[in-house]
Symmetry: C2
């Protein structure tokens, strides 16, 4: 199943949706520390949504009736300027929530990077449940705080780091997120294309490519394939990421 890449403006492709009483529970069990009672109540509110690679989940500026929790796969979250400049603000993986920020309209767009499954909750009932469940709200606060801290790191990166420092920081942040990774030491899978890396780091595709080439030349990394990377000198990579070189 392949999703259309670009759709006429205002036309959202409809992904596959199924009701599923237990999917809310499945989704939240990833997070841990939520009472069974809450899981059951949340399950009743959830729908399963399956997304093909490239499928659009939310569009900035459109009405925001839903909150999402990712069951499997990964999403890119981004903002656009009218002329097409794109800033990817983050990547989301299994267990992450999307759309918690309150408001009538989405303030970001989100697309599946690979085939992805999410749980969809209507915002009203979801919020009511959250307000009635302390552990759930506590977990959301915990996660949101961490996201905020990550966002502040990204601001430092975007505002003050050079291209090579950005790439180094990016490569160091990557590993933790891929649960299906064989975890060979120093081995990093690049699940995203150059264009996504560029739009995440505030660079162009060409600069990303050039910097990776420079890192190869310096012996900091090697690349068995275009999406597989081995960190040969973690020490140098860390030094660059911290702005010490």
């Amino acid at each position: 199943m392949l999703a259309p890449r670009s759709l006429p403006h205002g036309c959202v492709d409809r992904p596959e949706v199924n009701d599923c009483d237990s999917c809310g529970a499945r989704a939240l069990s990833v997070c841990g520390s939520v009472a069974d009672r809450d899981l059951e109540r949340l399950g009743g509110l959830a729908e399963v949504v399956k997304l093909a690679a490239g499928a659009v989940l939310t569009r900035e500026g459109e009405p925001a009736p839903h909150v999402f929790n990712i069951t499997s796969g990964s999403l890119r979250v981004y903002k656009l300027l009218p002329d097409g400049r794109r800033q990817i603000t983050g990547f989301l993986f299994a267990g992450d929530f999307l759309g918690l920020a309150i408001g009538e309209f989405y303030v970001f767009s989100a697309e599946a990077i690979e085939p992805t499954t999410v749980c969809r909750f209507r915002k009203g009932p979801f919020r009511a449940l959250v307000e009635s469940s302390q552990p759930l709200e506590h977990m959301l606060l915990h996660r949101t705080s961490h996201e905020l801290a990550a966002a502040q790191n990204q601001m430092l990166l975007l505002g003050r780091k050079t291209a090579i420092e950005r790439l180094a920081s990016f490569l160091l942040d990557l590993p933790g997120h891929d649960p299906a990774r064989p975890t060979a030491p120093g081995h990093v899978r690049l699940p995203m294309k150059r264009g996504e890396i560029a739009d995440y780091l505030g660079l162009t595709i060409e600069t990303v490519s050039r910097v990776l080439t420079r890192m190869k030349a310096k012996g900091i990394i090697s690349m068995p394939s275009q999406s597989d990377l081995i960190v040969e000198r973690p020490d140098l990579l860390r030094a660059h990421a911290g702005g010490e070189i």
Copy 2:
């Protein structure tokens, strides 16, 4: 009372501290929607801390025993690279919280911009109280979500906007925060210096100055003094901020 500007590394100037049972209540009453019972309990945990302009409240990397709530004044929150490059991640004003993100150490530094009063809570008891009070936790989640949304806007700004677009966005975001402002239409006070604006927008002092000059030449703004600014053409300012020019 004047605080020393720069202190030897590792030496934190001790600001004036007073116990105050009612200050927690005062601090949180700014936020609204917190039960009186919670305010009383929180009040018992709080100390008042008075900061002179330039005084350091937290330093990145130091142990983080406290959570703060700003009673009056304003703070700059920032991160540093080893060579001194600074990214200001945000400005905080009366009612805002600082240090919610859990962790052993602060992940940012914070300094008073002007004479500022904050309420200081020990993290352990504060967290215990939050976990026991739903409305309090709900408010914190609400605020943190908004901060995260603002952070994502700032990522778009830092990653993809030009200097003039950054300044335009900044000037449009400013007004809401100054409660003591006379609110003359189009009139904006610049409470911070050029260096702070530059480090917030990922630019240099010189570029900030040049762009303001360019805006004056275009008739978009005028500046009666170096810290007072009048938006003459809000339409043009919005167009620039949105990347439409």
